[in-house]
Symmetry: C2
Subunit: 336 residues, 2 copies
DNA sequence: CGTTAGCACTCTACCTTGATGAGTGCTAAC
DNA sequence: GTTAGCACTCATCAAGGTAGAGTGCTAACG
């Protein structure tokens, strides 16, 4: 599709622009990357590349910058991930060195680390609780009127929900229900619990079926929301250091999206077939993100499910390095 | 300290500047607020006010803007809170109308509401768990190696922590410890649990005292962190609409502070004597906040403790209106 | 004596202008 | 096919110039 020389020129443009954030001209390429052709020749190649949609010109008489398509070609051409630089590797090791226990803490620490390494926004999403399994349901009475329902998953996550005791229902009854549910459903994955018909149990103890059903639903959703799917952002201000965001309006829109957790989850949601995914510019379906790229890696904590870590930055992001970073760190998290 | 006319002039400057964000000149005051004196007279008064430190001049031949001290005087002179406007009141009512249960949801909804009403950053801090009381400690086994320790407070909050079972300690033993702790400490407030010496219990069952102590500490802190003290930010981007933040550097610094939860808590931490507190400009001890004001109100959910809601904006914030809003909403939250 | 009108002065914001330089596209020569 | 040369285009930046807002001072007024 592209002959060797066009590839060389395109890659030079991409790399240079990623580094400098300045439109790159034919002279620059000829001088800085010496592959034995003159500036004029490069200009011809550039004209071709532009026609093919790989690069663009901000205005006549500026250099060229890669288009979404150009970045895409570049990323798809990356065969192997580069080694981490020594600096990166030691920083990561220091950061993960020893200690660090507890889901929440790890997520936050990772987010901070990633954002400081990349000067971009990092998004860390905790392992989904969907695939964890029910261990126990319990109830603890608070007073005559209310009690706490608790659901413990086999990975140690706990969801709790305060419920008002329906008239005539004692805590003892509720405890009995919990025992029955535990006996019946222990070992089921959380996402399948949604489909269960808890109302049936309620009948036996004189609670209105739908009331009980609703409480259970909330409880299960609570667990999913609790840690699984937990979204941690890091360094939302870092992106301000990037020259492309010196104009406020653009930045505001991006930040506004990041404030809405559901949108963030949608952005990170990836095809499950690949361990990485890269969304470049307009490939993100959110219009506000049309000048951003999102690189996501999956991590798996054995027995706890699947989570994601992402880096969001300008389309001019350092793809190879970020991919390597994410690759390395996602494995580190997986090992726990 | 200030004679009536100086007060009038000062207040006119403050009000006008709050509205327009433009330095206000003597003519403007003479025309817009007619208290029967000419521009020249006002100029004299302004010169005095400046010397006294209530107003400042960005540069020769610009109008005056209030200084921190000017705002302070203005705020301290507010005797009664103004009525909410009809618009504000209906918006609030609609937002809180019906439903809305569960701590987390209420906090988030409130944050969103406040930020959209004020075009400022809102900070909502959940009720502190410090004053809630221990209800039950429990343990649930996960597998041969680990178990979940759970601490239930009397307001229904639950903290959990996965612990590795020390060699030779069975879950049964741990359950026994929980029972003993529950029996001993039920009804103690969470903040006092910190001081307890849990190590003593460990001795009886052959666990190393400090190991156990550490796990308990984490558990208790976990509870405090869980919902109590939970910090929810709303509309961090709204502040971008304020003209004073059109210069990025300032905004970046503010946002950076907001990313660090501990700093936010410190900012909101108020003297406990007063139901409101207003921190103006340099009164915030953080240098990055020297151009911001923070208005905080306390709310009390009976039996759950004390929380805070704050609005952070430029020093040019609409003090009376925001105070009224916070007053109204904090009471609404309190009623649950 | 406090108040006010008038005036000269100051400073910012904004626009225009012109110079500079980076970069392109085209053409003609190698 | 490649390259040097040249005319042309734009963005950026500094300089200059104007308009407008606002001040401080002074002298007159009631």
């Amino acid at each position: 599709m592209l002959d060797e020389r066009k590839r060389q020129v395109l890659f030079a443009i991409v790399r240079d622009y990623i580094q400098t954030a300045e439109p790159v001209g034919s002279r620059t390429i000829a001088r800085r990357y010496e592959f034995g052709i003159g500036a004029a020749t490069i200009r011809n190649e550039m004209a071709d590349l532009e026609e093919m949609g790989f690069i663009e010109q901000p205005h006549t008489s500026a250099g060229r910058i890669p288009s979404d398509r150009g970045y895409r070609y570049y990323v798809d051409s990356l065969e192997t991930l580069p080694e981490l630089t020594v600096v990166d590797a030691t920083l990561i090791k220091r950061h993960f060195g020893g200690r660090l226990r507890g889901h929440e803490v790890v997520l936050e620490a990772t987010a901070r680390l990633l954002s400081s390494l990349t000067n971009c926004v990092s998004i860390v999403i905790g392992p989904s609780a969907a695939q964890t399994r029910l261990k126990v349901m319990q109830v603890v009475p608070l007073n005559e009127l209310s009690a706490v329902l608790m659901l413990v998953a086999d990975n140690g996550l706990v969801a709790s929900e305060v419920v008002r005791l329906p008239e005539g229902l004692s805590v003892v009854d509720l405890g009995e229900v919990c025992r029955v549910i535990t006996a019946h459903y222990q070992g089921r994955t959380i996402d399948r619990l949604h489909e269960m018909n808890f109302g049936a149990f309620a009948g036996g103890i004189g609670v209105r079926a739908e009331t009980f059903e609703r409480a259970m639903d909330k409880l299960i959703s609570g667990l999913e929301r609790l840690e699984g799917e937990r979204v941690v952002l890091g360094g939302a201000t870092n992106i301000l250091n990037q020259p492309e965001f010196k104009d406020l309006a653009k930045y505001r829109d991006v930040l506004k999206v990041l404030e809405v957790q559901e949108l963030v989850q949608k952005l990170v949601a990836t095809s499950t077939t690949n361990p990485y995914s890269v969304s470049i510019g307009a490939e993100n379906h959110l219009n506000e993100m049309r000048d951003c790229s999102i690189i996501t890696a999956r991590y798996t904590i054995s027995g706890e499910g699947i989570g994601h870590i992402s880096i969001l930055g300008p389309t001019r992001i350092e793809y190879p390095r970020v991919l390597s970073l994410l690759n390395y760190i996602s494995k580190l998290i997986g090992q726990g």
